[in-house]
């Protein structure tokens, strides 16, 4: 009996180490839910600002240009709040799981996300500069989806499913000009809440 216990302990430690050494398993589901809530709040604020039907192709160009700085401001606030919440909650979970927050796995995760994210970010700046406002929402969804797909190899593979969903939604958004804000709210709001909830139930507790 003594040996059996020892072997079972060995197996448990092997299993845990193989996972902890290769994947960053401290991502917080709760952070995903909150990021979704921030995104929905931001989208509601943007909608209030535009004060026009969802179809913003019909918005007078001058009106759009005058509110553009505010829209960018809202987007930045949502982004920063989501990142801060994500880092804080992930830090807490990493502590609990005994995984370093700035270790080999989290570095690989961030590095692999960074390339599509930076590419997408620069593309969006160029689109804004050149006046292709309608392409900003689909581009942000598609490149965020690509970043998540890349990240999925270094954390829970559920992240890949979220990534693919964002990419599909981004392509749909490209086909439906004028519904960018609505579909953006679904992608960054609703999908994050659903995904965060699933992750919370599966891994956080």
């Amino acid at each position: 009996m003594e040996e059996k216990k020892e072997i079972q302990d060995d197996i448990a430690s092997i299993r845990s180490l193989m996972e902890r050494s290769s994947k960053f398993i401290s991502l917080s589901g709760l952070a995903g839910i909150l990021a979704g809530v921030y995104a929905l709040t931001g989208a509601a604020a943007a909608f209030y600002l535009i004060r026009e039907p969802l179809n913003y192709q019909q918005i007078p160009f001058l009106h759009l240009v005058s509110i553009l700085p505010y829209l960018i401001g809202i987007a930045l606030v949502v982004l920063i709040a989501s990142l801060a919440t994500g880092v804080l909650l992930t830090y807490r979970k990493a502590k609990r799981k005994g995984q370093p927050i700035w270790g080999k796995t989290s570095r690989e995760l961030l590095f692999n996300m960074a390339i599509p994210l930076v590419t997408g970010g620069l593309l969006i700046l160029i689109l804004l500069y050149r006046g292709y406002f309608g392409l900003v929402a689909p581009a942000s969804l598609i490149f965020y989806g690509l970043a998540l797909l890349a990240a999925g190899n270094f954390t829970f593979s559920d992240v890949k499913i979220l990534g693919i969903s964002e990419i599909i939604l981004g392509l749909i958004t490209t086909c439906l000009p004028g519904y960018g804000l609505l579909l953006w709210a679904i992608g960054f709001g609703v999908l994050h809440i659903v995904y965060g909830w699933v992750m919370y139930i599966k891994y956080d507790r």
Binding site: E3, K4, I7, Q8, L17, M18, E19, S22
Partner: protein
């Protein structure tokens, strides 16, 4: 039916060696400091177990420099991976045998 304990690899008798090997089987390469952080062991302890595994021919060492800091990476050899697999098989058999009793 009696499966002897000799089937278990002596090189993995120590828990830390077994843990090192699991990390190196799951990852292509792993560096000394990340390994130390992950296993929560001291420098000396980790180094001596790594030496032991290297002597068995289960792992290889790659030394390089990141700027001025030495950066030592470890990689499991195919012999090491094979041995690890056999060890797991033996553990599985032992457990199954105990269950039968």
């Amino acid at each position: 039916m009696n499966i002897p304990f000799e089937k278990l690899d002596k090189a993995f008798e120590n828990r830390i060696r077994l843990q090192i090997m699991s990390v190196l089987v799951a990852n292509q390469r792993y560096d000394f400091n990340s390994l130390k952080e992950l296993l929560a062991v001291t420098d000396g302890n980790l180094a001596s177990h790594l030496k032991g595994l290297e002597k068995e021919g289960y792992i290889t060492v790659h030394k390089s420099y990141l700027g001025r800091k030495p950066n030592t990476n470890y990689e499991a050899t195919s012999k090491g991976k094979e041995a690890f697999k056999h060890h797991l098989d033996a553990m599985e058999q032992l457990i199954n045998q105990q269950k039968g009793k």
